[in-house]
Amino acid sequence: MTRTTGTTGNHPGREPLLAVRDLRVEFGLRGQRSTQAVDGVTFDIQPGEHVGLVGESGSGKSVTSLAVMGLLPRRGVRTSGEVRYDGRNLLDLGQSAMSKLRGRDIAMVFQDPMTSLNPVVTVGVQVAEVISRHNDVSKKEARDRAGDLLKRVGIPDPVRRLKEYPHQLSGGMRQRVLIAIALACNPRLLIADEPTTALDVTIQAQVLEVLKELVAETDAALLMITHDLGVVAGLCDRVNVMYSGRIVESTTRDVLFSQPRHPYTGGLLRSIPRLDSPRGEPLHAIPGSPTSTLPWTQGCAFAPRCERVVAACTDQPPALTDEGIRHVRCHHPLEPTDPVTDARSEVAR
């Protein structure tokens, strides 16, 4: 699949479908040490565009998506910035207005299909309820549509499946059901939060394929949250790489895979196992763990793990610099000549 979006960053003249501006999310009850989970994140999604949000656990990518959906708990969480959708800031929207939007305009597929479906309600009801919530249809009509949806996500014998409970379905089937639920009302934006990580490797590809097809059919924009660059390569037009609550590199897929600039992106790319690498060559891993970070206020959060660290990295926080085809937040970025081969050809398949 190839989609061509030549430019990066803001598309001048076109109103983005979703514009996230300086989003900040802080956790912590009164009197407790607070944690900045999302720290000034800015990105756009154009209508129909597929955007990846990539990072390790704890980078704040899931929190970002929950903030967009308005699904963060209200207590102990402070959210600021802007999530502009259709000219409205979703962060200012009341609960009832937001709930009318959810499922109809913006829908979400969650990570774990085993726990994301209600175990005591039939699959049919769980699909049909979102249809009847946002459409003026009869119960029967909603149910028929639910059956059609199940068929579209590739569930055999959908009429029988409607009457079954989640525990009677396999993990892959359940994730298909969740995709059906998310796409039931033809949303304009679908957020998929690591939709395949909980599945068997063999099932992952199938489910991704279903997701890809349906998103293409419905012309929805896609925000793909993942740590898997393979998924990005197969699905996304543009990619935002997050580290410790901030976006560190933002560019098109092609640019990212051919010339990553941020050492973290480079590290992610090199840690993908490759079939054509010489035998016996050790797999590359980014040293350290995502918990060993520097606060962004004191420098670059990635500095403790970075191979290219220079004095400036622990001295002052790097700013996001606009390089035309990309944005990058680094004091000492990789040069195009640096040895990171084009990983895309390998993982794009």
Partner: protein, 327 residues
Amino acid sequence: MSIPMMPAGPGGPGDPGGPGDPATTMLEPTATEHGTSLWRGAVQRLRRNPAAIIGALIVLAFVVVAIIAPLLAPYQPGTGEWAGQVTPGKVPGPSDEHVLGLDSFGSDMLTQLLYGARQSLVYGVVSTAVGLVVGASLGLLAGGFGAVGGRFGKAVDTLVMRLVDIMLSVPSLLLAVSIAAVLGKNAYAIIIAIGVAQVPIFARLLRGSMLAQGRSDYVLAASALGIRKRRIVMSHVLPNSLGPTIVQATLNLATAIIEVAALSYLGLGEGNPAVAEWGRMLVAAQDRFAVDPRLAIYPGVAIAITALGFTLFGEALREALDPRSRR
């Protein structure tokens, strides 16, 4: 003030869940925490919990009062030496000599209450200890044999648990009543009755947590290493299973104190009506209740507050020991 009572779900407020949440990934203590640090951590959590502190203060006050009752009490208990002042229509209320007035047998109310604490402490602690020792032994037997398996182990487990099932098929108050009714009206009867009624709870609890521990990976690993079964059970499975049992014992102290009073109320308590025992005092006060509620309210409130103390402390302890509620 919020009084946390139960582990109310993972995290509660401020827990956005999901792997992308730095709050959980960064603040979580390492998974290897166990043994002494579990208890040390629990003590720390208890000290931060206002409910635990209130509970502990009540328990402490109760125990101290019970122990030094002879020093605190202005008179001797159960003498009825002012019985002459008690008429069918009236029991003298608070006065200079008797701060809380007299009881219906003509003894000093304050003295009776203080000595009543003593009685409750002895009954409560000893009966719970009986229940704990017998119940935990049965649980250890069943759980120990059940945890390490084998046909023989299964048989022991089954046999013990059938006995426990039989005891559990009767509500514990009835069990206590049936035992006390046969043993007669004396202190031993009450203690045995209430103690035995607690046996099935402890047995099932300890067995359950031991079996759960027995299925855990570290036991599997230990048996794979060829460590002897008895050693695995005694030095790994048992210590790791004791937490819930200790919590239950604290909570049972509250129940035991209430049940002592209930047995008294049913006429199965201490035989001597003048003895300073809270339940007994409640019963004695009942006839005069409409005219002189004071007589019942003092002992009733004393029971309730003591039970509250043990319950608060036990609940807080449960929460502190629950790995899920650790923050």
